[in-house]
Amino acid sequence: MIEAKNLSLIYKDGTHGIKDVNLLIPQGELVYVTGTSGSGKTSFIKLLLGIEKPSSGSLDVIGYSMNNISSTKLQSLRQLIGPVFQDFKLLNGRSVYDNVLVGLRFLDYSDEKMHELSLNAMEKVGLSHKVHSPVENLSYGERQRVAIARAVARSPRLIIADEPTGNLDKKNALIVLDLLKSFQSNETSVIITTHAVALIEDEKNAMHILVEDTKMSVRDRYGK
């Protein structure tokens, strides 16, 4: 699913995003990427989404080599990923429904199927009652759930949530983590980045990646 070999990212200004990373994430895995702010979590996410390209080493995501990936292939890869951004990146001026549907419109679905998938996703995140509300009228938590619904509606192979617990209290953070975990399946991997280690340290059924000073150490679900 995801394989990195000696992967490094150096930004144009010379700062290191991540350094010499080696890891293998199998399909259907739940992965927590933890570390303090600026440790390299977001750099890793940027590489997975093709926002940045590897400076050295190699990275394969769902069978796509991210080294010199073409824009057409990157587009195809991104269609297999359900991203939940830290700032949600919702389309203002549109309803909850429109925001969820927009991620499906360019995929090979009929109108009926798109409608059904959107409604299902909104139901799963508990937003069935806000379908036609403009997203700018929603609370922080609700906006986050719209972002999650948009990510999962397309049944992605990989869900990437960047700091979904960032601005939440412990209770709500756990609710969001549980919600994201519920989308993990044999076909769908879930990668969650968070700096709130305390929230996930008891999570045995997941792979943990600790990012410290741009370096990654991996502990799989068996504690290895």
Partner: protein, 294 residues
């Protein structure tokens, strides 16, 4: 791109959202463009009507030949008929000469009633081949008993000169209008893309193809120029109908293009031009900005 057809209502809705996002710039651009299109359609209208007038005058390639009193008409007609380039000759007596003038002047013909006698002279109406106008006129001039020849040669030449001047001027205006429209449209689209750069970035991260992302911007430009084109048709309609009324009441015998057909042609011209320039301007705006949005 899948669901291209199904997405049309979405694209239109998105185009509307883009317009709402920068309503003042869009409104000002539509107003400016409608005036630009208005100038062009008026120029086009003038060209069409001049062309109509010239064609009409050419079709009426007749000269009126006046002669001395007591001339033997049969002999004169035979002489004229033998000149190369003369098609046929019709005798117009005094009464018919008056009738023709009454028909030509229309309502203004009342002025003729002021005369206590018929002021018109009989003449021969000579239908000729236009290309041989000069030769025919010269030969008729030298014919015995001919006192005066009335022809449209000078008017035709002047009109044709004006016509070629307008054509050259028109090409420059068309070029200027096209460049201005493309520039205004592409600038507005670039501005729209810049304002919505975050939304565009999000769609890219979701894997949306460029055609899907930027089609609403193309529609935005197209709708803007199309709306400006429709507004210009309204302005042109008012102006041309007023001009037609003015011209026909002042110079009643002037031959103008039939109003309804003329307006259809002008509307078609404005619409076609606005569509082509709208698409072109939008495409340039998209092409120059889209790669910069990550």
């Amino acid at each position: 791109m899948a669901n291209r057809k199904n997405n049309i209502p979405y694209f239109i809705k998105e185009a509307a959202v883009i317009v709402k996002g920068d309503i003042s710039s869009n409104t000002m651009s539509v107003i400016s463009l409608s005036f630009i299109f208005f100038i062009l359609t008026i120029l086009f209208s003038i060209t069409i009507n001049l062309q109509t007038l010239i064609t009409d005058l050419k079709e009426q390639a007749e000269i009126s030949v006046f002669y001395e009193e007591n001339t033997d008409l049969d002999t004169l007609k035979t002489k004229l008929q033998s000149i190369a380039g003369v098609r046929n000759i019709t005798f117009i007596n005094q009464e018919n000469a008056k009738k023709e003038m009454v028909e030509t002047l229309g309502e203004d013909s009342k002025i003729i009633d002021l005369f206590e006698y018929n002021p018109f002279s009989p003449y021969l109406e000579v239908n000729i081949e236009l290309e041989k106008l000069s030769e025919v006129v010269n030969e008729i001039k030298d014919t015995k008993n001919v006192t005066y020849i009335r022809d449209n040669k000078e008017i035709l030449l002047k009109l044709e000169n004006i016509m070629s001047l307008i054509s050259v001027f028109g090409i420059f205006i068309l070029l200027a209008v096209s460049i201005t429209t493309v520039f205004v449209t592409s600038h507005l689209i670039r501005q729209g893309i810049y304002i919505n750069r975050e939304a565009i970035g999000t769609l890219k991260l979701l894997g949306a193809p460029s055609k899907f992302i930027f089609f609403p911007y193309l529609l935005n430009g197209l709708f803007m120029t199309l709306f400006a084109g429709i507004l210009s048709i309204g302005l042109t309609f008012v102006t041309v109908s007023y001009a037609f009324k003015m011209l026909l009441s002042t110079i009643s015998f002037i031959k103008l293009s039939p109003f309804n057909e003329h307006m259809v042609v002008l509307a078609g011209f404005a619409i076609l031009l606005s569509i082509v320039l709208g698409i072109l301007g939008s495409a340039i705006g998209i092409k120059s900005t889209s790669p910069k949005i990550k």
